[in-house]
């Protein structure tokens, strides 16, 4: 086919440009704009340069929220990744059990995020909740996620693991199913133990999907908002105030738009840098570099 030049073809990209402008570029520019000003009220603002960034970086409550956020994401990854892989390994490989287990495992993923919070609030209530009532009144262990920070964290972790491990499991399962049968045959001939088969065949072959799972889980857990907001509102005290909850308090609660803008950009940068690092590390693990 002959190619000819027609600059009007650029017009075809306009819809996407408009879409991306409204969904990303304009909001981002607005945030950058806010981050370099101190906004006192409508029409009253003062250019302050990097002042807001400096202030944010010095803010101890932000540091606390940041460490809390790291701890949360680290726990989420440490629990959900191995658990998801284990689930995938345990799932049936053929027959009716495949579709059955896929549907059952995917159920938590279908529930809206704020509904998840509501479900768990009721579930852990000491008076009427199945779990709360059982642990307080039957086992006699005092448990109250609204009063004790540790209980709040435990509840939050359970909810998070219940909600998102299925995603890791589904991705890992897809990765497992894609391994050609001949690898298992060769492993049998070579006298490989099940553990070695897992370590040298299944795990390396799942690297791609597990990288995706890790990145998705890291980003989502690092940006978590709706579930803790509904379940604990950031409490008790500030025990479950994560970065996003803190950010919303700053921006909407105190209407501190300048600080919130600077904070958003730093937040965005942290996520971006960490994802890049994770991705590079996981890609290099599998490279044919000399050992």
């Amino acid at each position: 086919m002959n190619k000819w030049e027609n600059n009007r073809a650029w017009l075809l990209t306009v819809p996407v440009l408009i879409l991306v402008a409204f969904s990303s570029i304009i909001p981002l520019m607005t945030v950058i704009n806010y981050s370099v000003q101190d906004i006192m009220g409508e029409g009253q603002s003062l250019f302050v340069g990097t002042e807001m960034f400096k202030a944010v970086l010095r803010e101890p409550r932000l540091h606390e929220a940041l460490w809390r956020q790291f701890l949360f994401s680290a726990l989420v990854l440490l629990i959900e990744m191995p658990l998801g892989v284990l689930l995938a390994l345990a799932m049936p490989k053929k027959g009716w059990g495949v579709s059955f287990s896929l549907v059952v495992i995917a159920l938590p993923l279908l529930i809206p995020w704020n509904t998840i919070g509501s479900i768990w609030i009721i579930f852990v209530r000491p008076d009427i909740g199945l779990f709360g009532h059982f642990i307080n009144n039957v086992l006699g262990i005092p448990f109250d996620h609204t009063a004790r920070p540790l209980d709040a964290w435990i509840t939050l972790m359970f909810m998070e693991v219940w909600h998102w491990t299925p995603l890791v499991a589904l991705l890992a399962y897809a990765g497992l199913r894609a391994i050609p049968e001949v690898y298992y045959q060769a492993a049998k001939i070579d006298g490989s133990s099940p553990w070695k088969t897992f370590w040298y065949i299944q795990l390396p072959k799942m690297r791609g999907v597990l990288t995706i799972a890790l990145l998705l889980r890291f980003m989502d857990s690092f940006l978590i908002y709706a579930e803790p907001f509904v379940l604990t509102g950031g409490g008790p005290g500030n025990a479950t105030t994560f970065l996003s909850i803190y950010l919303v308090k700053l921006a909407l609660g105190q209407f501190d738009l300048g600080t919130a803008g600077a904070f958003s950009l730093i937040y965005f940068l942290i996520v971006e840098v960490l994802c890049f690092v994770f991705y590079q590390v996981l890609q290099n693990v599998g490279k044919g570099a000399k050992t």
Partner: protein
Amino acid sequence: MARIEFNDVAHSYLRNPKKEADYAIKTISNCWDDGGSYALLGPSGCGKTTLLNIISGLVTPTKGRVLYNGVDVTALPPEKRNIAQVFQFPVLYDTMSVYDNLAFPLRNRHIENKEVDKRVQQVAEILDLTSFLQDRAAGLAADAKQKISLGRGLVRSDVAAILFDEPLTVIDPYLKWLLRRKLKEIHEQLKLTMIYVTHDQMEALTFAEKVVVMYEGEIVQTGTPEDLFENPEHRFVGYFIGSPGMNFLECRLDGNVAYVNGTGIKLETKTADAAQNARGKMELGIRPKYLEISSKPVENGLEAAVKNLEDLGSYKIVTVMLQNKILHAWLPEDSPVPSGKAWIIFPPQKTKLYADGRLVK
């Protein structure tokens, strides 16, 4: 090392096989001698790989027994059978170095480090992998990867047999030839039992002492390459071995003369005698190499029309029509080339008779 025996082995991939067509392997009894080198030859889908997997234990047959040196191993998994198998496409442990890949089958069997090192170095030497030993296996080219797979098959010195499932498919022709020779050398040195699956007759005929020809789930003939060429016991062997394959002509028998649409062709007396008890569709078979062709009328020569001539360098292939049937014949380089008409002779001792595809003898 071991003698491997099949006792009435049949296999179907269906859960409840009913008719004969449900079986990928139809009742096979066969024996692979200790230290022999065999090629398993047949078209795609004839059951070669299934047969190989039954030997190694990756597939448990629906019926029958598999014996290693007289011991029944039918129910044993591959890891308990002490067998090596190399697959069509490279299978690597990509997070390991080449060295660790080769050592893997030995280490899994708790062999001393010193012995492991000795074997790995030997195999690496044979396969020209010494300079890669410390590299990560994942980064290598396809042929190097397949050499590692071969190496994992060769590294164990005590195996009952080494099974190869079209192992050279991904390797380019020159290296293929080198590796095939290498395998043959290894066989001659170590006297290991080797079974080599292929659908390439060249590969089968050059590699093996004995060729086992499979067709639709059955072994139709086992023999030396020469046997297969001179005395094909099944129509399929005649057609599959040799290029072009054997000529077949449907015929009707009367005494020791076979009639092809009215043209009589004389047979050997013993063939004609044996044919008295044969039933089914009768066919004459003759190798293009043995069909004598002349450009001038000769005594007992049958007149045929020349259709095509193919020059293959050291010989030519002539295509002729005899009674509306196509025949191929070899023509040595210095023979006169027939044009328009040719006269052909069927030498009786080389003219075979087949009843329902099987040799009459």
